[in-house]
Amino acid sequence: MLEILNYDFMQRALIAATAVGLTAPAIGTYLVQRRQAIMGDGIGHVAMTGVALGFLMNTSPVWMATLVAILGAVGMEIVRSRGRTSGDVALAMLFYGGMAGGVMIINLAPGNSTASFNTYLFGSITTVAPEDVTAICILAAFVVAITIGLRRQLFAVCQDEEFARVTGLPVRLLNLLIAVTAAVTVTVAMRIVGLLLVSAMMAIPVAAAQRVTRGFVTTLALAMTIGVTVSLTGTAATYYVDAPSGAAIVLLAVAVFLVLALLAAPLARRRARSKAAAEAAEASGSPDAVDALDSMECTLPSARQAEENVKV
């Protein structure tokens, strides 16, 4: 088993896998918290244009992808913060424009770039170049510093944005920071997991962790642990099985999710029962239960106003 450590390319692949396992679930926890897990997918699509530009201009695809992904993520954040109904159409254009741009540019690039382009889509353990390792480590350190160091502030912004603004936090800045961090994570992950599967590593470890956790920080920590475990295991597995590493890692993450969901099923049932019991006790103790329902219904129009009027 340890003989895989004798190969330089495997050492690099395992370092990159550790970076992916730490960063993708870390930023993913915040994206899942505000039900925006799909954002990673969109940034991945946009980053394709960056990778292709890197090939075309013979510069490092990693840095070019980082640049384009950040521009795309900031664009998505602006669309999100405006909260317009036409927002999803704007996002679709950004996502698929980015993907089409990548495919178009890669065909203009000289040589056999199309084959190596595929390794960026689904990940590959053999392609992590020595200079990539440096870039990946620097970018991963940035992501971990933001997601751990600012966890209280980012938690507040993702939990309840309007409340966070009234506490005087620089919410607009923190939102941009989340977008930039997500973009950087995509480029950290693209070598090992691939641009089309990166979103899975942002969402699945978090979904798996929250089957058994009660708090935010414990979810964050467990998601990162699961992330590192599956990405190291998946990377090692593709040394023996000739398959894209991203596919192996994501399948392992799904397996971990299923195992935890099964193990936690009795726990979830017990929690649901005790919550239902608490609410039933309150409802029966309250002659106002019907009125309470009335007033909940009555508040709906104002709730809708609140959404329409989101201002950042």
């Binding site: 505000r34 409340f163 936090l169 002659p287 009555c298």
Partner: protein, 274 residues
């Protein structure tokens, strides 16, 4: 508490001639709302009357197309001391896409003071105190997802109290909250008012808070139609089915004691109805 005439105290919120639109629909059409230090003001009105928009405008969360807003005598643009304000937005849940403990949610209210820095011992103590005020200290390690709607609302109010604000602004704090939890919230609010905290709250009906309210401002179609003593028995809210039991006073099967009835109860402030 001081005994000056309320008119002599300095205003903490002054919303003057406020106008706001949602899309092309005018929601506020020149609303004047002044809340002075130590007052407890209820904002009443039918659905769609603009009361929620008015209160969100008062914390700078709705852009005004006309008029002005001053908080603690400072124009909104230059106002920075947000820790003086505790805000409870209108929500029916404290939960989000990822589990969070009661402590984590309430601690985020403390960010008004710690900002980008690290929390210290005093911050942890303030979170604990805020939870004790709403009677949720024993649930501090629990997930908010495991709480009932009324308990979640208590957690959200503790989150606002964690910053130890001078002004509490609450948007429908009683919506969807059962009577027992309403009484707990009324008790917590009574303590805050006794400590001199100013309160502005949107209410659908006065309910158990009625004895606390000094003044009611009634909105209709984005205009103020009443500013003065609170109407008796929530007469301003049209659906008459709610008048029946809206006062929150003893009902069959509901036998707890009102705190202000007890002999040792602290004197509540001199509201018009108390």
């Amino acid at each position: 508490m001081d005994h000056e005439e309320p008119e002599a105290r300095e205003p903490v919120i002054s919303l003057t001639g406020a106008r706001a639109t949602l899309g092309s629909r005018p929601v506020l059409r020149g609303v004047d709302l002044t809340v002075r230090r130590g007052e407890v003001v209820a904002l009443l009105g039918a659905n769609g009357s603009g009361k929620s928009t008015a209160v969100r405008a008062a914390v700078g969360q709705v852009p005004l197309s006309g008029g002005s807003l001053q908080l603690f005598g400072t124009d909104l643009k230059r106002f920075r001391k947000w820790s003086r304000i505790g805000y409870v937005p209108q929500r029916t849940t404290a939960a989000s896409g990822v589990p969070a403990t009661v402590r984590e949610v309430v601690s985020s209210g403390r960010l008004a003071r710690t900002k980008l820095g690290l929390p210290g011992r005093g911050d942890k103590a303030a979170v604990q105190r805020a939870l004790e005020l709403v009677g949720m200290a024993d649930r501090i390690k629990d997930s908010v997802n495991a709480l009932s709607g009324g308990q979640q609302q208590r957690v959200l109010i503790a989150r606002a109290l964690a910053a130890e604000p001078e002004l509490l602004i609450m948007d429908e704090p009683m919506a969807g909250v059962d009577l027992a939890n309403q009484e707990v919230l009324a008790g917590a609010l009574r303590e805050q008012v006794a400590d001199g905290v100013t309160v502005l709250l949107v209410l659908h009906e006065l309910g158990p808070l009625e004895p606390l309210i000094d003044r009611a401002v009634v909105l209709r179609d984005g205009c103020v139609t009443h500013d003065g003593p609170p109407p008796k028995a929530a007469a301003s809210t049209p659906p008459s089915s709610q008048l029946r039991s809206s006062r929150g006073y003893p009902q069959p099967g509901h036998d707890h004691v009102h705190p202000h009835d007890g002999p040792g109860a602290e004197p509540i402030r001199t509201g018009l109805l108390s």
